[in-house]
């Protein structure tokens, strides 16, 4: 079974950041449908600082590194996304303790911790039509694949692809859901018919990670 190294972690975070910056307009458009159109703007303002300050982050451990990211997000990202994504990165950092080498199981633990943080902060759960509805199914698919044993596809890149596919399917499926949390919930039934912006963002990030992981070879 492949292991996720610290440099893999940096690659993933960096790709998330770059995806947020590159998709600023698209993510805002998604949020405009039944929200207020600022989701892409909010994320991009934080993640562009992540990229700008990239070299300066303390990398003494994977956990410290993630904590730094959490801090940048909390400092600069506003809206609902600021507290949610800040909490997610903070809890992810906490899940790693003082580990220096990371395994695929650690990746699952990190994602679970992030999801639990979002649930607690947002008083939300699976089925409320939020980013959790992409994040949790993606984590489930990843975990299932790891437990399935040493399938030849079971490389880091292969796992990334499986996660991405699961995230996309789940994000698309949010279209049929009615929003129970966040701004779209004000519209009641009118939230049905379009996917959740946060869930789609998770899918786009996971797909980009899978694409580039494959390219890394």
């Amino acid at each position: 079974m492949s292991s996720t190294t610290a440099s893999d972690l940096e690659f993933v975070v960096r790709t998330i950041a770059q995806t947020a910056v590159d998709n600023e307009r698209e993510f805002s458009e998604l949020d405009a449908v039944v929200g207020d159109g600022d989701f892409g703007f909010s994320l991009a303002r934080g993640f562009e600082i992540v990229i700008a300050d990239w070299d300066s982050f303390d990398r003494s451990s994977p956990s410290t590194f993630l904590k730094k990211i959490a801090l940048v997000i909390s400092k600069r990202v506003g809206g609902t996304s600021g507290p949610l994504w800040g909490t997610a990165f903070l809890r992810a950092a906490g899940a790693l303790g003082d580990k220096t080498e990371l395994t695929a199981e650690d990746a699952v633990a990190v994602l679970r911790a992030a999801a639990e943080g979002i649930k607690a902060r947002g008083r939300s759960d699976l089925g409320d039509k939020t980013l959790l509805d992409a994040l949790i199914p993606m984590t489930d698919a990843l975990e299932k694949e790891i437990h399935a044993g040493d399938d030849p596809a079971n490389t880091s890149a292969g796992l990334a692809r499986i996660a991405a596919t699961a995230a996309r399917t789940a994000a698309d499926a949010t279209s049929t859901m009615q929003a129970m949390r966040g701004r779209p919930s004000y519209t009641g039934e009118r939230s049905i018919g379009s996917p959740d912006a946060g869930a789609v963002a998770i899918a786009v990030m996971a797909e980009r990670i899978a694409d580039e992981w494959a390219a890394r070879g």
Partner: protein, 331 residues
């Protein structure tokens, strides 16, 4: 998009800089945290009042900073609650020994940012209370949403708590007053057109030429329903009805009536709406004792209006009448 804008990312800071330049003696601008504060804050003998929320609602809330109203406002980007950190730093800058009251319009993001900032500030030893404002009758409370939204009625809460704090009331008293005003304040709004956030560059939603959004949110959130554009008196009737029946306001009540423009509707139309609403109320035996017509809480350049009623008693009337010195007009 047709706006006065340079780089959209600079829209909010440039607006705040203009505000500070226009009020050099009374306001201070702290760019690091998007913060607008009274030049003389904090006062050690007065509870400090802070309101934050997304930008795009001007004159709310940055133009309500001044003697008799807010000690500071910390706006986020357009329609985005401020980052927790901005709120936390703002509280630090206006922290008074008598405590700090945070006024928050009731939205998920704002609640989170202010609750986290309160925790951080309390850990530093500052006494903080947070009041959530939720005057919008368009969104019905339910088990799953975060509850009603805070909209233009926040003006009356700010005005009342600002006056009480200025007179030396302690934090619990200021909080009691704010909660009381919020409990008798109700608002309902509607959009004729969508608004265009500078960074988006196009309207936030599509509204056909003959349709309106009844019950729209101040961030352009869809409201109760789409419906056909109708003569002003019919639309005003619906707005007044929704507000009156919610509290409810009844015959014999004395009220403050606010007709708030959402940014793109001129004063001529707002006064026309005011006249219709005033007469609707008179017809129900509700007496308008104070009137407010203009822009108090906008949604960028959205054409539309909201109607707010506050049920008055002597205590509230007295606080609304008290003087205040802020960039935006209040009386």
């Amino acid at each position: 998009m047709k706006k006065f804008v340079n780089d959209p990312k600079d829209f909010v800071p440039e607006m705040l800089e203009g505000l500070a330049l226009a009020n050099p003696d009374t306001l201070r601008y702290v760019p690091e945290y998007n913060l607008i504060m009274r030049a003389d804050a904090p006062m050690t003998d007065k509870v400090s009042i802070v309101q934050g929320s997304g930008s795009g609602h001007e004159p709310a809330h940055v133009m309500s900073v001044g003697k008799g109203m807010l000690d500071a406002a910390c706006p986020g980007d357009i329609f985005a609650a401020p980052p927790t950190d901005y709120v936390y730093e703002t509280v630090k800058m206006v922290a008074s020994p008598k405590g700090v009251l945070l006024l928050v319009n009731n939205y998920t993001g704002d609640r989170m940012a202010f609750e986290m900032a309160q925790e951080l500030s309390e850990a530093d030893g500052v006494t903080v209370r947070t009041l959530f404002i939720d005057d919008d009758v368009s969104v019905q409370d339910s088990t799953y949403t975060v509850g009603r939204r805070g909209v233009a009625g926040n003006f009356f809460v700010m005005k009342a708590v600002g006056a009480a704090a200025e007179r030396g009331a302690d934090l619990d008293e200021v909080y009691r007053i704010g909660e009381k005003v919020n409990s008798v304040t109700r608002t309902m709004g509607m959009a004729l057109t969508a608004c265009t956030p500078p960074a988006k560059g196009s309207p936030l939603f599509d509204l056909p030429d003959d349709e309106i959004e009844m019950g729209v949110g101040i961030h352009g959130e869809p409201g109760r329903r789409r419906e056909k554009l109708r003569p002003a008196k019919e639309m005003v009737h619906e707005l007044v009805n929704a507000v009156v029946e919610d509290l409810p306001f009844t015959s014999g009540d004395g009220v403050a009536l606010m007709v708030n423009g959402l940014g793109g509707t001129p004063l001529s139309e707002l006064y026309l709406v005011y006249g219709l609403a005033h007469k609707e109320l008179a017809g129900r035996g509700i007496e308008v004792r104070r009137s407010y017509v203009g822009e108090y809480c906008t949604s960028l350049d959205m054409a539309g209006a909201s109607i707010t009623l506050v049920k008055l008693d002597d205590e509230i009337t007295d606080l609304l009448e008290a003087p205040a010195e802020i960039p935006a007009r209040v009386f």
